[in-house]
Symmetry: C2
């Protein structure tokens, strides 16, 4: 008898018939002899409806965050009540709780609160009585009793945190995709669903622009070693298991190809190369709260160096203006930028011990005539920036070069992943 | 500086512009130097939308009451968040609380819970800080932490209970009518708004089929002597003050004419008149949980008596069947019923000391050729049952006979009331 935490997203509970479908799935898992905790999001569209009301009453100003959390938390309260009714109609004992009722204690950062503690006592009692426990995702309560929310996608975090607190055997995230893929199937039709991927790889993929799971949920799962599984609400199938590395587990070389076209590039040419110059260049940008992603500095020539970094495209104009103003003080020759770029990344724990990965990557891109503008590496990731027009061509070339294609009848050596 | 509790119903908060209108009204009362607690209902239509979801998921069975309360309580949570945003946009400090957050402690009778206690401490602190306090009506929490609701119209009860707990100077109920009327203005176009009415009169009127205020709210207000005022959300005006009798206050003879066409009449002819016969006749009916309203027994003739009582029209068929079955055992001659009846009532604390009221009432009806089928009296009320076709004619005749008509330039002696 295992304890399983199941989380269903907004499309899985978008209508009453879908909520009844979720009830039947949870009841079946219960009948198979498992204890079940179900975490729900709001019905699809409900959060946007409530947000529209909040913006209307705030005259398009930012709504007060404390009241916004009070408002938005009603969305999940509706779905947990309806699912519990559906379970009871099936003759399955169930109890539902809001975040405040469980007592999912968070800090007071409204709209992006962090979970501090979970009072699992009542839930354990309900489970002992054979009840399915239904919990509102996305929400908690601070020490003063004010309702807080965990930010978009926060229901994943709720599910993982409950799984950790209750020592669950598995945390299952039901979505509208049937698992994690080697890359975006819309770009590479031969992309394959992965049976398994590590937390580290999933984290690299998530931060590279994937949308299957919230990054914080994956971090949380990795920290508490909660096995996470991504499955489809609508189709049967094993999904993808996200887990820690087990000794003896065959290490795949590369698990996935990720891409991100949300970035823009800024280059400062001919800066005097002296200690502390990088900090001086980036100082005004980070002071303005602009996130910098990749940073590349070329070797110095005649006492001058070139410096390139990327920011989110929405912050490009502001970053360019700040850097241009600042460049004169630094004595730089020229500042220019480019928004037509895409970042392609290889992700895989296997590359740690395989130095040849980088050269295979660069060769595959060169064979297609794709010029690499920037390179950045981490232990389990290599990212390159190329012209945006090469997104599809480059992704397909890399997917093929690392044998990620789904070929019937062929036993592929590597497992890998990306997200739809 | 007085403390005023204001309650706004569903039509008053049906849209964002109306919520902003409520914010301006509350802010104006605050600016006038009062402390304000605002109690809100759900947006008009929202409770019905949620109920429809609950019935859909329950396949038209009765939804589980515990989960239904969880579901319905979201309605007020939405409006309190939106009103607080609107107040803050006006630059007015405000805080909102659900029933559970205030801690409006109730018993565990889901969907019709009774308030046991209110923890007013936080609210008093907020008021001291100059904040407007916004509280979700209709809802509370039981000792186990489960959300409860007080039943339809329960927001009135919340407002009165808060006013009592906080020792408020006045509890103002904003609705879509501008006060309490001498009778239904749709039946008698000359009906007048009353400036003032007593709790007792209001109670008699409420139980006679009026809909302006929930009966429990009036009882509560009477018990704790909280002055209640019914006003319009949409028009300026003093409304109607519902208050306890003050010594020296001029006692009106009759305050209002009420009518109720939801009843049906059952008559048992020729029952042997012996002690305990009334209990024997009504036993099976009350055992079946059917509410009996008026009961009349005529004097005995040759050891036989006639017995008549009224029940709600929806329970007439069941009551008739039970009584017919039982009548044979009792040795009654005949049982018959009539659903085409209406009950007309005079209400007024003044009639206590005026024995002539009844005869003036009967004369007024006789002058119109209206036959009285049943009569029943209490200290401040006289009710008669007549043929339903006489509803308008009888109500207008009584309204005129007791000088309740609104006549410009004429100083009317009596004040009276009924409800729109």
């Amino acid at each position: 008898m295992a304890l399983i935490v199941q989380k269903y997203g907004g499309s899985s509970v978008a209508t009453v018939p879908r909520i009844e479908h979720v009830a039947r799935k949870a009841a079946a898992t219960r009948s198979a002899g498992n204890d079940i905790v179900v975490v729900l999001s709001a019905m699809k569209g409900e959060t946007d409806r409530l947000l529209a009301l909040a913006y209307e009453v705030s005259h398009s100003q930012c709504p007060a965050p404390r009241e916004l959390d009070m408002l938005l938390s009603t969305g999940e309260q509706v779905t947990i009540a309806l699912l519990t009714m559906a379970l009871e109609r099936l003759g399955v004992a169930a109890r539902c709780y809001t975040g405040a009722q469980v007592r999912i204690l968070t800090d007071s950062s409204h709209s992006k609160a962090r979970i501090l503690d979970i009072d699992e006592e009542h839930l354990v009692e309900d489970l002992k009585l054979g009840r399915i426990v239904v919990v509102a995702g996305f929400q908690g309560v601070d020490e003063t009793g004010a309702i807080t929310t965990l930010g978009r996608g926060g229901s994943d975090t709720t599910a993982v945190a409950l799984a950790a607190a209750l020592g669950a055997g598995e945390c299952q995230i039901f979505t509208d995709v049937d698992g994690v893929y080697t890359t975006d199937p819309r770009v590479v039709p031969t992309a394959r669903r992965l049976d398994r991927i590590t937390f580290e790889e999933m984290l690299e993929m998530a931060s590279l622009g994937s949308k299957v799971l919230q990054i914080r949920a994956v971090e949380f799962a990795g920290k508490y070693q909660v096995p996470l599984r991504v499955l489809s609400s609508f189709e049967e199938g094993p999904g993808t298991l996200i887990t820690y590395e087990v000794e003896g587990m065959e290490e795949p070389l590369i698990s996935s190809i990720a891409f991100n076209r949300d970035e823009a590039k800024l280059t400062i040419l001919g800066v005097p190369d002296r200690p502390g110059i990088a900090a001086q260049i980036l100082g005004p940008v980070s002071a303005a709260n602009i996130n910098v992603d990749m940073i590349v500095q070329n070797i110095s020539k005649e006492g001058l160096t070139d410096f390139t970094f990327t920011v989110h495209r929405s912050e490009y104009e502001r970053a360019l203006e700040l850097t241009q103003k600042h460049a004169q003080e630094l004595g730089a020759r020229e500042v220019f930028g480019d928004t037509d770029i895409v970042k392609l990344s290889l992700v895989g724990v296997g590359m740690r011990s395989h130095a040849a990965v980088a050269s295979r990557m660069f060769t595959a891109l060169a064979d297609e005539g794709i010029n690499i503008q920037m390179i950045s590496t981490s232990e389990i990731k290599i990212s390159v920036v190329v012209d945006e027009k090469y997104l599809e061509l480059g992704t397909r070339a890399l997917h093929r070069a690392f044998d990620l294609d789904d070929k019937d009848g062929r036993r592929v050596k590597v497992e890998g992943a990306e997200v739809g």
